[in-house]
Symmetry: C2
Subunit: 242 residues, 2 copies
DNA sequence: CAGGATTTGTGCGTATGTATA
DNA sequence: ATATACATACGCACAAATCCT
C-alpha cells in the first residue's frame, strides 16, 4: 500500500478525491512522512534508513527517497556516512544542552524584536496557541503535547518579523522537538502546565527584562530534565546546580 | 572539460596520480563547485540553473546535479519553484538587514560563551586569521577578502564550544557571504581595515560588555553599507544561464 | 487561449564504489 | 581476505507542469 498519493492516475474517471492540496512534489511528501516518523519516535535514534526498503514501502522510486532523505539530513534529523548509510540522529546530553542554550539566545532576540510590536493580533494568536497547549496536556498523546508546545513557542519567531530568524528556528526546532522526544522532558517536568502559564503571562506583561529572564528560567527547566534523563541510569546523589 | 574528478578510470595503466584525497562523493564536489560560483558572484542572483546543461558542463549525471542543487537549496543559496526551475537566490535589502541583525544576536551569544574560555590558543588563531584578513585586503581580489573576513569571524563560532551554534552559523554565513557579494559592503565601507582592527582589539580585551557593544557597532556598519547600496543602485535585471 | 517547447519530476535497470560482517 | 549488502552514480525514458509564442 502506497503511503504517498499519486497524481497522474490514468484510469478512466479516476476519482479526483485524492487530488486535494497536491501542489507539492513527491519529494516533499516523502520528507514530511519521514519527518513525522522520526519526530514521533517511531524511528528510533540510530536506526538505519535503507533506500530500497523505503522506496518499496512508500511506493516511490529510490531517487525520490534519496532526495527526501537529504532534506532531512540538511535539517539535522538524519546523518549520512558516505557509502555506509543514513541513520536517525542520536542526540547526546551535551548536544541537547547546547540546543536549549542556543534556543535561549534566539528566543531572547525574538522577544526583543517583537516586544514593541505586540498588539491585539499577537495577544489573540498567542493566547489561542497557549490554550491549545493546555488542552493537549489534558486530552492528547505525548506526541501531540510536544507538537502543541512547539507550535506555541514558534509564534514568537513567526511574529517577530525577522524571516531569516524564522528560517533558522525552523531548522533548530527540529532538534528541539527531537530533544523533547528523546529526553521526555515535558512529561518528566514537575509542573509543566504551571511553567507554561508563567511564561505566557510574562510574555503578555509589561517588563521585557523580566521576560528575558523568564526565557532563561524556562529553558533551564528543559535542560534540567535533559540532565536528569541522561543520568537516570544511576540516580543522582545530589542534584545539579540550581 | 570535466570539473569533477572521476574515480574509476578503466584505461590500462591509468595514472593513480589523480586519486589523492578523493574520499568525498561527487554530490559534494559538485555542490562545492556550484557554491563557489554563486558566492563568487559568477552566477548572478536570479540566474536559472538548468540541470541538463550543468550535467554536461560538469560531466556528471543529472542525478548528481539534482542532489547538489538541493544541497544548496537547503543551505538557502538557491530557490526552487516546482516544475519551473531552480534559481540563484536574490536577497533584497530587508532580508540582508535581517541577516546582519540576526548575526549580531548569534555573535554576541558566541562571545558570551567564549569569553571566559579565551586562552593562548584562541589568541594565536584569532590573530592569525586577522592578519590573513589584513593581508587579503592589500594583495587579493575582493572575493578573497570576503572569504578572509568570513573566516576571521567564523573562529568565534568554532571556538565557543557550542557545536549546534556552529552548525547554525555555517548555514547563516552563506547568506552573510552572499550579502557581502551583492552589496559590496566591504569595498564600500569607509574604513574597513580600521574597523576590523578595532573589533580585533576589543575581542582580545578585558571588557565583555564593551565587546558586545562593539559587535553591534561593527554589524551596523555592514547594514549601513547595505542600505547605501540599496538606495544607490537600481535592481539588476535577471539573466538566464550563460 | 490554444499548443508546442522547455525543463523539471519520477521511475527503472544497471554498474561500480565502499563499508562491514 | 572474501563475500555481501548497500550506497552512489549513470543513462535513459517518460510524465507532468510551466513558460512562451
Amino acid at each position: 500500500m502506497s503511503v504517498i498519493q499519486k497524481k497522474g492516475v490514468k484510469t478512466a474517471h479516476a476519482l479526483p478525491k485524492f487530488d486535494v492540496a497536491l501542489s507539492r512534489t513527491r519529494r516533499a511528501q516523502v520528507a514530511d512522512t519521514l519527518r513525522n516518523f522520526v519526530l514521533s519516535g517511531q524511528l528510533a535514534p540510530g536506526t538505519q534508513l535503507v533506500e530500497a526498503k523505503l522506496a518499496s514501502r512508500f511506493g516511490v522510486s529510490r531517487g525520490s527517497i534519496r532526495e527526501a532523505i537529504w532534506e532531512l539530513i540538511d535539517q539535522g534529523l538524519l546523518i549520512n556516512r558516505p557509502y555506509a548509510g543514513t541513520f536517525v540522529i542520536s542526540l547526546d546530553e551535551k548536544t541537547m544542552i547546547e540546543v536549549f542554550s542556543l534556543r535561549g539566545a534566539l528566543e531572547r532576540y525574538a522577544f526583543t524584536l517583537l516586544w514593541p510590536k505586540r498588539d491585539g493580533v499577537f495577544r489573540e494568536e498567542f493566547t489561542a496557541r497557549h490554550k491549545a497547549l493546555v488542552n493537549a496536556t489534558r486530552t492528547q498523546t505525548r506526541f501531540d503535547v510536544i507538537k502543541a508546545e512547539m507550535r506555541f513557542h514558534s509564534y514568537s519567531y513567526e511574529f517577530c518579523g525577522n524571516r531569516v530568524l524564522l528560517e533558522v528556528w525552523e531548522q533548530l526546532s527540529q532538534k528541539v522537538h527531537l530533544s523533547f522526544v528523546i529526553s521526555q522532558a515535558i512529561v518528566r517536568g514537575t509542573d509543566f502546565l504551571g511553567e507554561s502559564e508563567r511564561y505566557y503571562t510574562t510574555a503578555l506583561g509589561d517588563d521585557l527584562a523580566e521576560m528575558l529572564v523568564e526565557i532563561d528560567r524556562h529553558l533551564e527547566l528543559g535542560m534540567l530534565a535533559v540532565r536528569r534523563f541522561a543520568h537516570n541510569a544511576s540516580p543522582p546523589a545530589s542534584k545539579t546546580t540550581e
